[in-house]
Amino acid sequence: MRRRLPVLVMMLFTAGAAGAQSSPPLDQAEQVRILLERVQQLEKRVAELETRQPVAPPPSEAATNVPTAPKPAMAEAAPPSAPAERHQHESAETQATVRQMESRYPSLQIRGFGDVDFSATDQKGTTSGFNLGQLDLHLASALSRKVTYFGELTFNAQPTGYTVEVERSIIRYDYNDYFKLSFGRYHTPIGYWNTAFHHGAWLQTTISRPDMIRIGGSFIPVHFVGFLAEGNIPSGGAGLSYNFGVGNGRGSIISRPGDAGDNNNNRAWVANLYSRPVKLYGLQLGISLYRDKITLPVVTATGNQFREWISAAHIVWAKENPEFLAEFANVNHKNILTSATTNNQAYYVQIGYRLPWFEKTLKPYYRFEHTHTPLSEQVFTNQDLVGSILGLRYDITNYASFKSEYRNTRRLPTEPRVNGAFFQTDFTF
Protein backbone atom coordinates (compact mmCIF):
# COMPACT_ATOMS: atom_id res chain seq x y z
CA MET A 1 0.00 0.00 0.00
CA ARG A 2 2.86 2.37 0.82
CA ARG A 3 4.34 1.75 -2.60
CA ARG A 4 1.03 2.41 -4.31
CA LEU A 5 0.15 5.53 -2.37
CA PRO A 6 2.45 7.91 -4.32
CA VAL A 7 1.13 6.47 -7.58
CA LEU A 8 -2.44 7.10 -6.49
CA VAL A 9 -1.58 10.62 -5.36
CA MET A 10 0.13 11.26 -8.68
CA MET A 11 -2.85 9.93 -10.59
CA LEU A 12 -5.20 12.07 -8.49
CA PHE A 13 -3.10 15.14 -9.15
CA THR A 14 -2.74 14.63 -12.89
CA ALA A 15 -6.37 13.57 -13.25
CA GLY A 16 -7.43 16.65 -11.36
CA ALA A 17 -5.34 18.80 -13.63
CA ALA A 18 -6.72 17.06 -16.69
CA GLY A 19 -10.21 17.38 -15.35
CA ALA A 20 -9.69 21.09 -14.76
CA GLN A 21 -8.51 21.44 -18.33
CA SER A 22 -11.18 19.35 -19.90
CA SER A 23 -14.21 19.94 -17.75
CA PRO A 24 -15.75 22.51 -20.08
CA PRO A 25 -15.44 20.86 -23.52
CA LEU A 26 -15.86 24.20 -25.26
CA ASP A 27 -12.68 25.54 -23.64
CA GLN A 28 -10.75 22.54 -24.84
CA ALA A 29 -12.15 22.90 -28.33
CA GLU A 30 -11.14 26.54 -28.27
CA GLN A 31 -7.63 25.62 -27.15
CA VAL A 32 -7.29 23.08 -29.93
CA ARG A 33 -8.56 25.66 -32.41
CA ILE A 34 -6.01 28.21 -31.21
CA LEU A 35 -3.24 25.61 -31.42
CA LEU A 36 -4.32 24.64 -34.93
CA GLU A 37 -4.26 28.26 -35.99
CA ARG A 38 -0.81 28.60 -34.46
CA VAL A 39 0.40 25.52 -36.37
CA GLN A 40 -1.06 26.88 -39.59
CA GLN A 41 0.58 30.27 -39.04
CA LEU A 42 3.91 28.56 -38.50
CA GLU A 43 3.45 26.35 -41.57
CA LYS A 44 2.67 29.42 -43.62
CA ARG A 45 5.73 31.20 -42.28
CA VAL A 46 7.96 28.22 -43.10
CA ALA A 47 6.52 28.16 -46.62
CA GLU A 48 7.24 31.87 -47.02
CA LEU A 49 10.79 31.36 -45.82
CA GLU A 50 11.24 28.46 -48.22
CA THR A 51 10.10 30.53 -51.16
CA ARG A 52 12.38 33.42 -50.19
CA GLN A 53 15.43 31.18 -49.76
CA PRO A 54 15.71 28.30 -52.20
CA VAL A 55 18.86 27.02 -50.46
CA ALA A 56 18.17 26.06 -46.87
CA PRO A 57 19.96 28.45 -44.52
CA PRO A 58 22.10 27.29 -41.62
CA PRO A 59 19.98 26.38 -38.60
CA SER A 60 21.02 29.41 -36.54
CA GLU A 61 20.22 31.76 -39.43
CA ALA A 62 16.81 30.20 -39.87
CA ALA A 63 16.15 30.70 -36.20
CA THR A 64 17.06 34.39 -36.38
CA ASN A 65 14.89 34.89 -39.50
CA VAL A 66 11.74 33.91 -37.68
CA PRO A 67 9.92 37.14 -36.84
CA THR A 68 8.89 38.17 -33.38
CA ALA A 69 5.78 36.08 -33.28
CA PRO A 70 5.15 34.36 -29.95
CA LYS A 71 6.75 30.93 -29.86
CA PRO A 72 5.26 27.91 -28.17
CA ALA A 73 6.85 26.94 -24.87
CA MET A 74 8.00 23.60 -26.27
CA ALA A 75 9.93 25.31 -29.05
CA GLU A 76 11.70 27.58 -26.57
CA ALA A 77 12.83 24.60 -24.56
CA ALA A 78 14.31 22.86 -27.59
CA PRO A 79 17.78 23.69 -28.96
CA PRO A 80 17.57 26.55 -31.46
CA SER A 81 18.70 24.46 -34.44
CA ALA A 82 16.38 21.48 -33.81
CA PRO A 83 13.23 22.71 -35.65
CA ALA A 84 15.18 23.69 -38.75
CA GLU A 85 17.02 20.36 -38.81
CA ARG A 86 13.76 18.53 -38.34
CA HIS A 87 12.19 20.52 -41.14
CA GLN A 88 15.14 19.81 -43.44
CA HIS A 89 14.86 16.14 -42.61
CA GLU A 90 11.11 16.12 -43.26
CA SER A 91 11.58 18.02 -46.49
CA ALA A 92 14.14 15.47 -47.67
CA GLU A 93 11.77 12.67 -46.75
CA THR A 94 8.94 14.35 -48.65
CA GLN A 95 11.12 14.83 -51.71
CA ALA A 96 12.09 11.17 -51.57
CA THR A 97 8.41 10.21 -51.37
CA VAL A 98 7.63 12.50 -54.29
CA ARG A 99 10.34 10.81 -56.36
CA GLN A 100 8.84 7.43 -55.45
CA MET A 101 5.38 8.56 -56.54
CA GLU A 102 6.49 9.83 -59.92
CA SER A 103 5.33 7.62 -62.78
CA ARG A 104 7.54 4.77 -63.89
CA TYR A 105 6.92 2.55 -66.90
CA PRO A 106 5.87 -0.19 -67.12
CA SER A 107 4.00 -0.13 -63.81
CA LEU A 108 2.26 -3.45 -63.38
CA GLN A 109 -0.62 -3.75 -60.93
CA ILE A 110 -2.25 -7.10 -60.20
CA ARG A 111 -5.59 -7.58 -58.52
CA GLY A 112 -7.39 -10.84 -57.91
CA PHE A 113 -11.00 -11.82 -57.41
CA GLY A 114 -12.37 -15.07 -56.12
CA ASP A 115 -15.50 -16.68 -54.76
CA VAL A 116 -16.67 -19.85 -53.06
CA ASP A 117 -20.27 -20.96 -53.55
CA PHE A 118 -22.85 -23.33 -52.14
CA SER A 119 -26.08 -24.24 -53.87
CA ALA A 120 -29.09 -26.46 -53.20
CA THR A 121 -32.17 -26.71 -55.42
CA ASP A 122 -35.26 -28.89 -55.69
CA GLN A 123 -34.58 -29.62 -59.36
CA LYS A 124 -34.65 -33.35 -60.05
CA GLY A 125 -31.27 -34.85 -60.88
CA THR A 126 -29.19 -32.11 -59.28
CA THR A 127 -27.10 -32.37 -56.15
CA SER A 128 -26.38 -29.76 -53.55
CA GLY A 129 -22.85 -28.81 -52.60
CA PHE A 130 -19.95 -26.41 -52.67
CA ASN A 131 -18.12 -25.24 -55.71
CA LEU A 132 -15.16 -23.04 -56.29
CA GLY A 133 -16.04 -20.07 -58.42
CA GLN A 134 -13.76 -18.34 -60.85
CA LEU A 135 -10.35 -17.25 -59.66
CA ASP A 136 -9.81 -14.08 -61.60
CA LEU A 137 -6.56 -12.17 -62.06
CA HIS A 138 -6.62 -8.66 -63.43
CA LEU A 139 -3.51 -6.96 -64.75
CA ALA A 140 -3.14 -3.26 -65.50
CA SER A 141 0.11 -1.71 -66.59
CA ALA A 142 0.81 1.78 -67.87
CA LEU A 143 3.45 1.43 -70.60
CA SER A 144 3.79 5.17 -71.08
CA ARG A 145 1.75 8.27 -70.29
CA LYS A 146 -0.68 7.34 -73.05
CA VAL A 147 -0.36 3.61 -73.59
CA THR A 148 -1.81 1.09 -71.17
CA TYR A 149 -2.21 -2.67 -71.11
CA PHE A 150 -5.12 -4.42 -69.39
CA GLY A 151 -5.46 -8.17 -69.02
CA GLU A 152 -7.81 -10.59 -67.30
CA LEU A 153 -7.22 -14.29 -66.72
CA THR A 154 -9.62 -16.74 -65.10
CA PHE A 155 -9.02 -20.16 -63.61
CA ASN A 156 -12.17 -22.25 -63.83
CA ALA A 157 -12.90 -25.42 -61.88
CA GLN A 158 -13.83 -28.40 -64.09
CA PRO A 159 -14.59 -32.03 -63.16
CA THR A 160 -11.10 -33.08 -64.27
CA GLY A 161 -9.05 -30.03 -63.25
CA TYR A 162 -8.87 -26.35 -64.07
CA THR A 163 -9.06 -24.46 -67.32
CA VAL A 164 -7.38 -21.12 -67.88
CA GLU A 165 -9.12 -18.54 -70.03
CA VAL A 166 -7.87 -15.21 -71.35
CA GLU A 167 -10.97 -13.10 -70.73
CA ARG A 168 -9.52 -9.77 -71.78
CA SER A 169 -6.22 -8.70 -73.26
CA ILE A 170 -6.21 -5.09 -74.39
CA ILE A 171 -3.60 -2.56 -75.35
CA ARG A 172 -4.95 0.96 -75.45
CA TYR A 173 -3.63 4.25 -76.77
CA ASP A 174 -5.24 7.36 -75.29
CA TYR A 175 -5.11 10.38 -77.56
CA ASN A 176 -7.30 12.42 -75.25
CA ASP A 177 -10.65 12.04 -73.44
CA TYR A 178 -12.50 12.03 -76.74
CA PHE A 179 -10.56 9.34 -78.54
CA LYS A 180 -8.98 6.20 -77.14
CA LEU A 181 -8.11 3.34 -79.47
CA SER A 182 -7.46 -0.20 -78.34
CA PHE A 183 -6.87 -3.65 -79.78
CA GLY A 184 -7.42 -7.05 -78.24
CA ARG A 185 -10.09 -9.19 -76.61
CA TYR A 186 -12.86 -7.34 -74.79
CA HIS A 187 -16.11 -7.77 -73.06
CA THR A 188 -18.47 -6.64 -75.79
CA PRO A 189 -19.85 -3.18 -75.00
CA ILE A 190 -23.50 -4.17 -75.37
CA GLY A 191 -25.69 -2.92 -72.53
CA TYR A 192 -24.35 -2.22 -69.06
CA TRP A 193 -23.57 -5.31 -67.01
CA ASN A 194 -21.15 -6.94 -69.43
CA THR A 195 -18.66 -4.09 -69.20
CA ALA A 196 -19.44 -2.91 -65.67
CA PHE A 197 -18.84 -6.07 -63.66
CA HIS A 198 -16.82 -8.48 -65.85
CA HIS A 199 -15.83 -11.64 -63.95
CA GLY A 200 -15.29 -10.43 -60.40
CA ALA A 201 -18.34 -11.60 -58.45
CA TRP A 202 -17.42 -9.20 -55.64
CA LEU A 203 -18.03 -6.24 -57.95
CA GLN A 204 -21.68 -7.12 -58.57
CA THR A 205 -24.45 -6.98 -56.00
CA THR A 206 -25.80 -10.45 -56.76
CA ILE A 207 -24.22 -13.91 -56.79
CA SER A 208 -24.64 -14.46 -60.50
CA ARG A 209 -25.03 -12.47 -63.69
CA PRO A 210 -28.40 -12.18 -65.43
CA ASP A 211 -29.05 -15.16 -67.69
CA MET A 212 -28.94 -13.05 -70.87
CA ILE A 213 -25.25 -12.27 -70.26
CA ARG A 214 -24.18 -15.29 -68.27
CA ILE A 215 -20.61 -16.53 -68.67
CA GLY A 216 -20.60 -19.22 -71.34
CA GLY A 217 -24.04 -18.13 -72.53
CA SER A 218 -24.81 -17.24 -76.13
CA PHE A 219 -27.71 -14.80 -76.04
CA ILE A 220 -25.35 -11.81 -76.10
CA PRO A 221 -21.83 -12.32 -77.51
CA VAL A 222 -20.04 -11.71 -74.21
CA HIS A 223 -16.56 -11.41 -75.77
CA PHE A 224 -15.25 -9.59 -78.79
CA VAL A 225 -11.86 -9.74 -80.55
CA GLY A 226 -10.82 -6.76 -82.66
CA PHE A 227 -10.37 -3.05 -82.10
CA LEU A 228 -12.39 -0.53 -80.14
CA ALA A 229 -12.55 3.26 -80.25
CA GLU A 230 -14.06 4.97 -77.24
CA GLY A 231 -14.29 8.31 -75.51
CA ASN A 232 -16.44 11.19 -74.38
CA ILE A 233 -18.54 13.28 -76.75
CA PRO A 234 -18.57 17.05 -76.13
CA SER A 235 -22.22 17.34 -75.14
CA GLY A 236 -22.45 19.66 -72.15
CA GLY A 237 -24.81 18.44 -69.47
CA ALA A 238 -25.82 15.32 -71.40
CA GLY A 239 -22.50 13.65 -70.56
CA LEU A 240 -22.40 11.49 -73.69
CA SER A 241 -19.79 8.79 -74.31
CA TYR A 242 -19.34 6.21 -77.06
CA ASN A 243 -17.74 2.88 -77.94
CA PHE A 244 -17.34 1.68 -81.50
CA GLY A 245 -15.63 -1.56 -82.37
CA VAL A 246 -14.93 -3.89 -85.27
CA GLY A 247 -13.99 -7.51 -84.73
CA ASN A 248 -14.39 -11.17 -85.57
CA GLY A 249 -17.87 -11.59 -84.15
CA ARG A 250 -19.19 -14.98 -83.09
CA GLY A 251 -17.07 -18.03 -83.82
CA SER A 252 -18.13 -21.49 -84.91
CA ILE A 253 -19.11 -22.07 -81.29
CA ILE A 254 -21.40 -19.06 -81.06
CA SER A 255 -20.65 -18.40 -77.38
CA ARG A 256 -17.01 -17.77 -78.29
CA PRO A 257 -15.54 -14.83 -80.20
CA GLY A 258 -13.16 -16.53 -82.63
CA ASP A 259 -9.94 -15.81 -80.77
CA ALA A 260 -7.82 -17.82 -83.18
CA GLY A 261 -9.39 -16.26 -86.28
CA ASP A 262 -12.76 -15.47 -87.85
CA ASN A 263 -14.80 -18.25 -89.42
CA ASN A 264 -15.97 -16.02 -92.28
CA ASN A 265 -14.82 -12.93 -94.14
CA ASN A 266 -17.39 -10.70 -92.54
CA ARG A 267 -16.42 -8.51 -89.58
CA ALA A 268 -18.85 -7.78 -86.81
CA TRP A 269 -19.26 -4.23 -85.51
CA VAL A 270 -20.65 -2.83 -82.31
CA ALA A 271 -21.69 0.69 -81.37
CA ASN A 272 -22.61 1.82 -77.89
CA LEU A 273 -23.80 5.28 -76.93
CA TYR A 274 -24.52 6.23 -73.34
CA SER A 275 -25.27 9.28 -71.28
CA ARG A 276 -24.38 10.21 -67.71
CA PRO A 277 -26.35 13.44 -67.24
CA VAL A 278 -24.49 16.00 -65.19
CA LYS A 279 -27.57 17.05 -63.24
CA LEU A 280 -28.44 13.48 -62.27
CA TYR A 281 -25.21 12.10 -60.83
CA GLY A 282 -25.59 8.31 -60.73
CA LEU A 283 -27.87 7.94 -63.75
CA GLN A 284 -26.73 6.19 -66.92
CA LEU A 285 -28.83 5.64 -70.04
CA GLY A 286 -27.58 3.84 -73.10
CA ILE A 287 -28.30 2.12 -76.38
CA SER A 288 -26.23 -0.45 -78.26
CA LEU A 289 -26.22 -1.98 -81.73
CA TYR A 290 -24.32 -5.07 -82.87
CA ARG A 291 -24.14 -6.47 -86.40
CA ASP A 292 -22.61 -9.78 -87.45
CA LYS A 293 -22.79 -12.64 -89.90
CA ILE A 294 -22.92 -16.03 -88.23
CA THR A 295 -21.58 -19.14 -89.91
CA LEU A 296 -22.63 -22.30 -88.12
CA PRO A 297 -20.37 -25.36 -88.40
CA VAL A 298 -23.19 -27.68 -89.55
CA VAL A 299 -24.84 -27.05 -92.95
CA THR A 300 -28.53 -27.94 -93.05
CA ALA A 301 -31.14 -27.82 -95.81
CA THR A 302 -31.73 -24.17 -94.96
CA GLY A 303 -28.04 -23.29 -94.99
CA ASN A 304 -25.74 -22.29 -92.16
CA GLN A 305 -25.36 -18.54 -92.58
CA PHE A 306 -27.36 -15.91 -90.73
CA ARG A 307 -27.38 -12.17 -90.34
CA GLU A 308 -27.53 -11.04 -86.72
CA TRP A 309 -28.74 -7.70 -85.42
CA ILE A 310 -28.66 -7.04 -81.70
CA SER A 311 -30.27 -3.90 -80.34
CA ALA A 312 -30.10 -3.19 -76.64
CA ALA A 313 -30.92 -0.44 -74.16
CA HIS A 314 -30.22 0.11 -70.50
CA ILE A 315 -31.06 2.46 -67.69
CA VAL A 316 -29.03 2.38 -64.50
CA TRP A 317 -29.04 4.32 -61.25
CA ALA A 318 -25.56 3.44 -60.07
CA LYS A 319 -25.89 4.60 -56.47
CA GLU A 320 -26.88 2.31 -53.64
CA ASN A 321 -29.85 4.13 -52.12
CA PRO A 322 -31.40 2.72 -54.20
CA GLU A 323 -29.45 0.84 -56.84
CA PHE A 324 -31.43 0.21 -60.02
CA LEU A 325 -30.40 -1.66 -63.15
CA ALA A 326 -32.54 -2.56 -66.14
CA GLU A 327 -31.48 -3.89 -69.52
CA PHE A 328 -33.31 -5.08 -72.59
CA ALA A 329 -31.93 -6.76 -75.70
CA ASN A 330 -33.48 -8.01 -78.92
CA VAL A 331 -31.49 -10.49 -81.01
CA ASN A 332 -32.66 -10.72 -84.60
CA HIS A 333 -31.53 -13.60 -86.82
CA LYS A 334 -32.17 -13.72 -90.55
CA ASN A 335 -31.40 -16.82 -92.58
CA ILE A 336 -29.41 -15.65 -95.63
CA LEU A 337 -30.74 -18.50 -97.78
CA THR A 338 -34.42 -18.47 -96.86
CA SER A 339 -34.79 -14.94 -95.40
CA ALA A 340 -36.65 -16.48 -92.44
CA THR A 341 -36.42 -14.09 -89.50
CA THR A 342 -36.69 -14.64 -85.76
CA ASN A 343 -36.55 -12.25 -82.81
CA ASN A 344 -35.33 -13.25 -79.35
CA GLN A 345 -35.88 -10.94 -76.41
CA ALA A 346 -34.44 -10.80 -72.95
CA TYR A 347 -34.54 -8.31 -70.14
CA TYR A 348 -33.90 -8.00 -66.43
CA VAL A 349 -34.76 -5.47 -63.76
CA GLN A 350 -32.75 -5.38 -60.56
CA ILE A 351 -33.18 -3.20 -57.51
CA GLY A 352 -31.09 -3.05 -54.35
CA TYR A 353 -30.91 -0.80 -51.33
CA ARG A 354 -28.00 -0.24 -48.95
CA LEU A 355 -29.56 -0.25 -45.47
CA PRO A 356 -28.50 2.58 -43.17
CA TRP A 357 -27.98 0.31 -40.16
CA PHE A 358 -25.07 -1.98 -39.15
CA GLU A 359 -22.54 0.45 -40.63
CA LYS A 360 -24.23 0.15 -44.03
CA THR A 361 -22.99 -3.40 -44.51
CA LEU A 362 -26.33 -4.90 -45.58
CA LYS A 363 -27.88 -4.62 -49.00
CA PRO A 364 -31.05 -6.54 -49.84
CA TYR A 365 -31.86 -6.93 -53.53
CA TYR A 366 -34.37 -8.35 -55.96
CA ARG A 367 -34.07 -9.22 -59.64
CA PHE A 368 -36.64 -10.31 -62.16
CA GLU A 369 -35.49 -11.65 -65.50
CA HIS A 370 -37.15 -12.97 -68.59
CA THR A 371 -35.76 -14.52 -71.76
CA HIS A 372 -37.85 -15.60 -74.74
CA THR A 373 -36.69 -17.53 -77.80
CA PRO A 374 -39.38 -18.41 -80.37
CA LEU A 375 -39.93 -22.00 -81.45
CA SER A 376 -38.83 -21.06 -84.98
CA GLU A 377 -35.44 -19.78 -83.77
CA GLN A 378 -32.67 -21.14 -86.02
CA VAL A 379 -29.41 -20.21 -84.27
CA PHE A 380 -30.05 -20.54 -80.54
CA THR A 381 -31.26 -23.57 -78.71
CA ASN A 382 -34.18 -22.70 -76.45
CA GLN A 383 -33.17 -20.20 -73.77
CA ASP A 384 -36.58 -19.40 -72.29
CA LEU A 385 -36.49 -18.32 -68.68
CA VAL A 386 -38.70 -16.58 -66.17
CA GLY A 387 -37.03 -16.08 -62.84
CA SER A 388 -36.88 -14.10 -59.65
CA ILE A 389 -34.01 -13.68 -57.23
CA LEU A 390 -34.32 -12.33 -53.71
CA GLY A 391 -31.08 -11.89 -51.83
CA LEU A 392 -29.02 -10.16 -49.21
CA ARG A 393 -25.44 -8.94 -49.53
CA TYR A 394 -23.40 -8.46 -46.38
CA ASP A 395 -20.10 -6.63 -46.76
CA ILE A 396 -17.78 -8.30 -44.29
CA THR A 397 -15.01 -5.80 -45.01
CA ASN A 398 -14.29 -3.25 -47.72
CA TYR A 399 -12.99 -6.07 -49.89
CA ALA A 400 -15.07 -9.15 -49.08
CA SER A 401 -18.75 -9.92 -48.94
CA PHE A 402 -21.16 -12.71 -48.15
CA LYS A 403 -24.32 -13.17 -50.23
CA SER A 404 -27.34 -15.38 -49.82
CA GLU A 405 -30.09 -15.79 -52.41
CA TYR A 406 -33.37 -17.51 -52.95
CA ARG A 407 -34.14 -18.20 -56.60
CA ASN A 408 -37.33 -19.24 -58.28
CA THR A 409 -36.99 -20.03 -62.00
CA ARG A 410 -38.79 -21.79 -64.79
CA ARG A 411 -37.27 -22.58 -68.19
CA LEU A 412 -40.29 -23.81 -70.17
CA PRO A 413 -44.03 -23.46 -69.44
CA THR A 414 -44.30 -27.23 -69.38
CA GLU A 415 -41.54 -27.61 -66.80
CA PRO A 416 -42.00 -27.19 -63.04
CA ARG A 417 -40.62 -24.18 -61.22
CA VAL A 418 -37.24 -24.69 -59.56
CA ASN A 419 -36.56 -23.29 -56.11
CA GLY A 420 -33.04 -22.90 -54.89
CA ALA A 421 -30.90 -21.49 -52.09
CA PHE A 422 -27.52 -20.09 -53.06
CA PHE A 423 -24.70 -18.78 -50.90
CA GLN A 424 -21.46 -17.13 -51.89
CA THR A 425 -18.51 -15.48 -50.26
CA ASP A 426 -16.53 -13.35 -52.67
CA PHE A 427 -13.56 -11.08 -52.34
CA THR A 428 -10.87 -9.09 -54.05
CA PHE A 429 -7.21 -9.23 -53.09
Partner: protein, 165 residues
Protein backbone atom coordinates in the same frame (compact mmCIF):
# COMPACT_ATOMS: atom_id res chain seq x y z
CA UNK B 1 -7.88 0.31 2.38
CA UNK B 2 -8.19 -3.39 1.61
CA UNK B 3 -7.36 -5.10 -1.69
CA UNK B 4 -10.93 -4.96 -2.96
CA UNK B 5 -11.15 -1.22 -2.33
CA UNK B 6 -7.86 -0.71 -4.15
CA UNK B 7 -9.14 -2.64 -7.17
CA UNK B 8 -12.34 -0.58 -7.15
CA UNK B 9 -10.38 2.70 -7.00
CA UNK B 10 -8.07 1.55 -9.81
CA UNK B 11 -11.04 0.48 -11.92
CA UNK B 12 -12.81 3.82 -11.36
CA UNK B 13 -9.71 5.76 -12.36
CA UNK B 14 -9.32 3.66 -15.48
CA UNK B 15 -12.92 4.35 -16.43
CA UNK B 16 -12.45 8.07 -15.77
CA UNK B 17 -9.31 8.26 -17.91
CA UNK B 18 -10.90 6.26 -20.71
CA UNK B 19 -13.98 8.46 -20.75
CA UNK B 20 -11.83 11.61 -20.75
CA UNK B 21 -9.86 10.28 -23.69
CA UNK B 22 -12.98 9.27 -25.60
CA UNK B 23 -14.76 12.56 -25.08
CA UNK B 24 -11.84 14.77 -26.05
CA UNK B 25 -12.72 16.39 -29.33
CA UNK B 26 -10.27 15.36 -32.03
CA UNK B 27 -8.43 17.79 -34.23
CA UNK B 28 -10.52 16.72 -37.21
CA UNK B 29 -13.71 17.48 -35.33
CA UNK B 30 -12.63 20.91 -34.25
CA UNK B 31 -11.15 22.13 -37.49
CA UNK B 32 -14.41 22.09 -39.44
CA UNK B 33 -15.58 25.05 -41.42
CA UNK B 34 -12.71 26.11 -43.69
CA UNK B 35 -13.20 25.93 -47.44
CA UNK B 36 -11.35 23.31 -49.42
CA UNK B 37 -9.54 24.85 -52.36
CA UNK B 38 -9.15 23.04 -55.67
CA UNK B 39 -5.49 23.54 -56.52
CA UNK B 40 -3.59 22.59 -59.66
CA UNK B 41 -0.05 22.73 -60.92
CA UNK B 42 0.68 26.28 -62.06
CA UNK B 43 1.10 25.24 -65.71
CA UNK B 44 -2.28 23.52 -65.95
CA UNK B 45 -4.36 25.23 -68.66
CA UNK B 46 -7.50 25.69 -66.58
CA UNK B 47 -8.63 28.47 -64.26
CA UNK B 48 -12.21 27.54 -63.47
CA UNK B 49 -14.31 24.40 -63.25
CA UNK B 50 -17.93 23.75 -62.40
CA UNK B 51 -18.59 21.38 -59.53
CA UNK B 52 -19.78 18.76 -62.02
CA UNK B 53 -16.52 19.15 -63.97
CA UNK B 54 -14.56 18.68 -60.75
CA UNK B 55 -16.64 15.56 -60.17
CA UNK B 56 -15.83 14.27 -63.67
CA UNK B 57 -12.14 14.75 -63.00
CA UNK B 58 -12.34 12.99 -59.64
CA UNK B 59 -14.41 10.13 -61.04
CA UNK B 60 -11.77 9.56 -63.70
CA UNK B 61 -14.20 10.43 -66.49
CA UNK B 62 -12.02 13.34 -67.52
CA UNK B 63 -8.42 12.12 -67.62
CA UNK B 64 -6.75 14.78 -69.73
CA UNK B 65 -6.50 18.57 -69.39
CA UNK B 66 -5.57 18.51 -73.07
CA UNK B 67 -4.20 15.87 -75.38
CA UNK B 68 -0.66 16.38 -74.07
CA UNK B 69 -1.36 16.76 -70.38
CA UNK B 70 -2.93 13.93 -68.35
CA UNK B 71 -4.71 14.65 -65.08
CA UNK B 72 -2.80 13.47 -62.00
CA UNK B 73 -5.21 13.07 -59.09
CA UNK B 74 -3.91 13.67 -55.58
CA UNK B 75 -6.10 12.85 -52.59
CA UNK B 76 -5.27 13.08 -48.91
CA UNK B 77 -5.12 9.89 -46.88
CA UNK B 78 -8.13 8.83 -44.77
CA UNK B 79 -8.92 10.97 -41.70
CA UNK B 80 -7.81 14.21 -43.36
CA UNK B 81 -10.59 16.76 -43.50
CA UNK B 82 -9.86 17.55 -47.16
CA UNK B 83 -10.62 13.94 -48.02
CA UNK B 84 -13.82 13.96 -45.97
CA UNK B 85 -15.10 16.99 -47.87
CA UNK B 86 -14.13 15.54 -51.26
CA UNK B 87 -15.88 12.25 -50.50
CA UNK B 88 -18.99 13.91 -49.07
CA UNK B 89 -19.51 16.75 -51.53
CA UNK B 90 -18.01 15.51 -54.78
CA UNK B 91 -18.03 11.72 -54.77
CA UNK B 92 -21.06 11.47 -52.46
CA UNK B 93 -19.59 8.18 -51.28
CA UNK B 94 -18.49 6.59 -48.05
CA UNK B 95 -14.85 5.59 -47.56
CA UNK B 96 -15.58 1.98 -48.50
CA UNK B 97 -17.66 2.99 -51.53
CA UNK B 98 -14.79 5.19 -52.68
CA UNK B 99 -12.31 2.32 -52.42
CA UNK B 100 -14.67 -0.05 -54.21
CA UNK B 101 -15.32 2.53 -56.92
CA UNK B 102 -11.63 2.71 -57.84
CA UNK B 103 -11.14 -1.06 -57.73
CA UNK B 104 -14.04 -1.36 -60.18
CA UNK B 105 -12.82 1.54 -62.31
CA UNK B 106 -9.43 -0.07 -62.88
CA UNK B 107 -10.99 -3.50 -63.36
CA UNK B 108 -13.15 -2.03 -66.14
CA UNK B 109 -9.98 -0.82 -67.85
CA UNK B 110 -11.28 2.74 -67.54
CA UNK B 111 -8.22 3.92 -65.60
CA UNK B 112 -4.71 2.57 -65.15
CA UNK B 113 -4.26 3.63 -61.54
CA UNK B 114 -6.24 5.09 -58.63
CA UNK B 115 -5.65 8.62 -57.26
CA UNK B 116 -2.29 9.04 -55.56
CA UNK B 117 -2.55 9.20 -51.80
CA UNK B 118 -0.74 12.04 -50.07
CA UNK B 119 -0.07 12.06 -46.36
CA UNK B 120 0.69 15.70 -45.61
CA UNK B 121 0.34 19.19 -46.96
CA UNK B 122 4.07 19.33 -47.58
CA UNK B 123 3.91 16.22 -49.71
CA UNK B 124 0.84 17.54 -51.48
CA UNK B 125 2.59 20.80 -52.42
CA UNK B 126 5.76 19.01 -53.49
CA UNK B 127 3.74 16.81 -55.83
CA UNK B 128 1.64 19.70 -57.09
CA UNK B 129 4.70 21.67 -58.08
CA UNK B 130 6.66 18.66 -59.36
CA UNK B 131 3.99 16.91 -61.42
CA UNK B 132 2.46 18.63 -64.46
CA UNK B 133 -1.30 18.12 -64.55
CA UNK B 134 -1.58 17.48 -60.81
CA UNK B 135 -4.79 18.48 -59.02
CA UNK B 136 -5.27 18.41 -55.25
CA UNK B 137 -7.64 19.60 -52.56
CA UNK B 138 -6.18 21.84 -49.90
CA UNK B 139 -7.52 23.53 -46.79
CA UNK B 140 -7.77 27.17 -47.89
CA UNK B 141 -6.04 28.28 -44.67
CA UNK B 142 -2.91 26.40 -45.74
CA UNK B 143 -2.44 27.98 -49.14
CA UNK B 144 1.08 28.44 -50.44
CA UNK B 145 2.46 30.24 -53.46
CA UNK B 146 3.54 28.44 -56.63
CA UNK B 147 0.24 26.71 -57.39
CA UNK B 148 -3.01 27.78 -59.04
CA UNK B 149 -6.31 27.93 -57.14
CA UNK B 150 -9.33 27.17 -59.33
CA UNK B 151 -12.69 28.89 -59.18
CA UNK B 152 -15.45 26.34 -58.61
CA UNK B 153 -18.87 27.29 -60.00
CA UNK B 154 -17.45 30.81 -60.32
CA UNK B 155 -16.47 31.12 -56.67
CA UNK B 156 -13.14 31.25 -54.89
CA UNK B 157 -12.56 29.73 -51.43
CA UNK B 158 -13.94 32.13 -48.85
CA UNK B 159 -16.84 33.25 -51.05
CA UNK B 160 -20.26 32.82 -49.53
CA UNK B 161 -21.49 30.31 -52.13
CA UNK B 162 -18.28 28.33 -52.48
CA UNK B 163 -19.44 24.70 -52.68
CA UNK B 164 -16.50 22.80 -51.11
CA UNK B 165 -16.67 23.13 -47.37
Amino acid sequence: MNATSKRVVTFLWTVLWASLALHSPSIAQTSRGADIAVVVNADTPVAELSLSEVRKVLLGERQYWNSKLPVVLLIRAPAARERDVVLRVIYQMSESQFKQYWVAKIFRAEAASPPRIVYSNDMQYELLTAMPGAIAFVDSRNMRPGVKVLRVDGHMPGDKDYPLR
